[in-house]
């Protein structure tokens, strides 16, 4: 057990997976010789050689497409798209090839590939280097999407993703890379699709993933001081997502808040809210509330981005609104 940064946990998962299975290879832009723009792949080329850890040219479409071909050819490629914003250039390979091959070839083959890509703001990186686009991928049958919030999960989910026979998009959060957590010497496996309860509580359920988990825990701590016991569920995986765990919590708390950093509208929270609103219609004592970014590009300036990013205060406010909710609020169309 050692204190490990999120980025280093990913590094260790890659190293351990490569050690365990010679078919695991890595490629992406600047990941090899230089160790990656966020140092996540540092040292891996030195350890596993230039054949298994490769720098590519700036060719996102081909990185993703080659991963599909390599997976069909018996390798387990783990490729990097440097910022999630650039996944726009790799969508064809992911959506039309990777996601569909197993199904459309009648189950003849699997496509065991992983795409690692960081999303999220907080670095004032501006509109084209900060987006959270995971909702797109969750809408695509055949893809799996995970978003770990801490080093332990990052390690375990990346190992699970690499072992998974199907294509997995492994979304990292730039702001989390330097955050620390305990990582066991022999970390426990985590199955894709299982949420974890980050904090127990009985008054309201907060469903989150990625960097929003910390915000939710901060919110829960603040609320605890007021005597409100919020339960925080870290989804970890958004496609598939752990409906059972969420429903079980809502059955207890009767109140749900879903929060993420992505734009609220048509985001991941919409699916969860829609689903829980349907399945827990009777149990819900108040409407499911969503916390997410306003409907705008991620702005650059410090003041703008600070206000743009949903944080603990927004979650706290939503929980309070949910608890204070009175049935006299009527539609005013």
């Amino acid at each position: 057990m050692a204190e490990t940064r999120y980025g280093m946990a990913i590094n260790r998962a890659l190293a351990d997976a490569m050690q365990a299975d010679s078919s695991v290879i890595l490629f992406g832009e600047d990941i090899a010789a230089a160790g990656g723009p966020f140092a996540v792949t540092r040292g891996l080329q030195a350890k596993f050689g230039p054949e298994r850890v490769r720098d590519t040219p700036i060719s996102e479409a081909t990185i993703a497409g080659a991963a599909v071909g390599a997976a069909l050819g018996g390798l387990k490629p783990v490729v990097e798209i440097m910022f999630m914003d650039f996944i726009t250039l790799a969508m064809d390979a992911l959506v039309n090839q990777a996601a569909k091959a197993h199904f459309m070839f009648g189950g003849q083959c699997s496509v065991p590939m992983v795409v690692r890509t960081p999303h999220g703001g907080g670095l004032n990186a501006g509109p084209q280097h900060s987006q959270c686009l995971e909702a797109w991928l969750a809408h695509v049958p055949g893809l799996k999407v995970v978003v770990p919030s801490n080093p332990t999960d990052a390690y375990a989910l990346l190992r699970a993703a690499i072992e998974d026979p199907d294509p997995v998009v492994f979304v990292e959060n730039k702001a989390l890379y330097s955050t620390k957590g305990e990582l066991a010497d022999v970390p426990q496996p985590v199955a894709i699709g299982r949420a974890s309860i980050a904090r127990s509580g009985s008054d309201a359920t907060i469903v989150v993933y990625g960097a929003s988990v910390a915000a939710a825990l901060n919110a829960a701590a603040a609320l605890a001081a007021e005597g409100i016991a919020a339960e925080v569920i870290d989804l970890r995986s958004i496609q598939p997502w752990d409906e059972r765990a969420v429903l079980a919590s809502v059955a207890k708390t009767r109140r749900l808040i879903v929060a993420h950093e992505a734009v609220t509208a048509f985001g991941v929270g919409a699916e969860i809210a829609a689903r829980v609103s349907e399945l827990a219609f009777v149990e819900l004592a108040a409407p499911v509330l969503r916390v997410g970014a306003d409907f705008m590009p991620v702005p650059f300036a410090r003041a703008l981005e600070r206000e743009y990013l949903p944080g603990a205060a927004d979650i706290t406010a939503a929980v309070r609104r949910c608890l204070d909710w009175k049935a006299n609020a009527r539609i005013k169309p």
């Binding site: 060719s59 081909t62 071909g69 090839q97 083959c109 799996k144 199907d166 699709g193 598939p240």
Partner: protein, 327 residues
């Protein structure tokens, strides 16, 4: 570059060309009768390309194909009944009726699938070549693509990456001069071979209606690629006899162009060679009849096939069920 094929070898290539031609003629009729769902793109007029190239391949080699992929599939040796059953949308199809003509695949024989995305097969083949290289399988990958795909950026990316990594990859262009309804000269300003050369990739153009010429060029290039010389480009000048898809009236094509296309028939080229080698017309007809019989049997079996089961398909989106709820 011309290598001499013996009678037996050429007969075998001819047989596969006939298999493709007759299969597609049969498909054309089935389509006319409303038995083929969806789009159907026939490769009649370019049979010599997949046959010549696949004859130069070994069992472990892989090919990524296009929307016009029947020839690649049959030349690579996919199961004939599964082939027809797939195109007719049957459970017994190679893809259990989920893909159809544009997605015929048979991974067992290294056929990585026809592809509905123009240029989509290029990076797949590149990745497959990477797997051959890393796994030291001794294999080579072939990316078939049409002249229309030359305009897609992914070609450029793949030429570059294959050259940088010296991948065992053959870029096999089937240049029939048409991209749907548009002629090549309004689609692409470069010559593929010149383009390839700019990346340091050896490139050769051949008459894609002469299976011996294709086979010879492919042989040499595949041997080079297998030997570690890196990617190769083989551009085959060929023809599209039918419309872009079945049902396309080809109004955009003038009679002269169509007549030109049909004037060079790879089957006639090869049967003439066979006769010159002393193979009797009778022997050729016998071979053709045998092929036709195989096709009829496969079609009959396919037609008797079951409709695919929806629940089974819906349960097969992922290889392994995961812990959560999809959707």
């Amino acid at each position: 570059m011309r290598i001499e094929l013996n009678q037996q070898e050429l007969l075998s290539l001819y047989e596969t060309m006939v298999l493709i031609r007759r299969s597609e003629e049969r498909l054309s009729r089935l389509f006319g009768d409303g038995e083929v769902p969806g789009f159907l793109h026939l490769s009649i007029g370019k049979e010599a390309v997949p046959v010549g190239i696949c004859a130069a391949l070994q069992a472990g080699d892989s090919v990524a194909s296009t929307h016009r992929g029947h020839g690649h599939a049959l030349a690579k040796g996919v199961d004939l009944r599964g082939f027809f059953a797939e195109i007719l949308g049957r459970e017994e199809g190679l893809c259990r009726g989920r893909g159809g003509s544009i997605h015929v695949a048979d991974l067992r024989v290294g056929m990585l699938g026809a592809n509905g995305i123009v240029g989509g097969g290029l990076p797949l083949a590149l990745g497959s070549a990477l797997a051959h290289q890393v796994r030291r399988s001794g294999g080579v990958a072939v990316a078939f693509f049409g002249d229309g795909a030359m305009s897609e950026g992914v070609l450029h990316e793949c030429l570059n990456l294959a050259a940088l990594w010296k991948l065992p990859l053959l870029f096999a262009c089937e240049n029939n001069g048409w991209s749907e309804f548009s002629p090549l000269m309004r689609q692409f300003a470069a010559q593929l071979c010149a383009l390839g050369n700019a990346f340091g990739i050896p490139a050769v153009q051949v008459d894609g209606s002469d299976v011996e010429a294709v086979r010879a060029a492919a042989n040499a290039m595949i041997a080079s690629a297998r030997g570690g010389a890196g990617p190769q480009i083989l551009e085959c000048r060929t023809f599209r006899w039918h419309g872009h898809y079945e049902g396309d009236p080809q109004k955009y094509r003038d009679a002269g162009d169509l007549a030109d296309a049909r004037s060079r028939d790879s089957l006639l080229v090869s049967s003439a060679r066979l006769e010159a080698m002393g193979v009797t017309t009778e022997r050729i007809r016998t071979l053709e009849r045998a092929v036709e019989a195989r096709i009829e049997a496969a079609v009959a079996a396919a037609r008797l096939g079951r409709a695919p089961d929806y629940a089974a398909a819906a349960a097969d989106v992922y290889t392994r069920a995961a812990g959560g709820t999809h959707g």
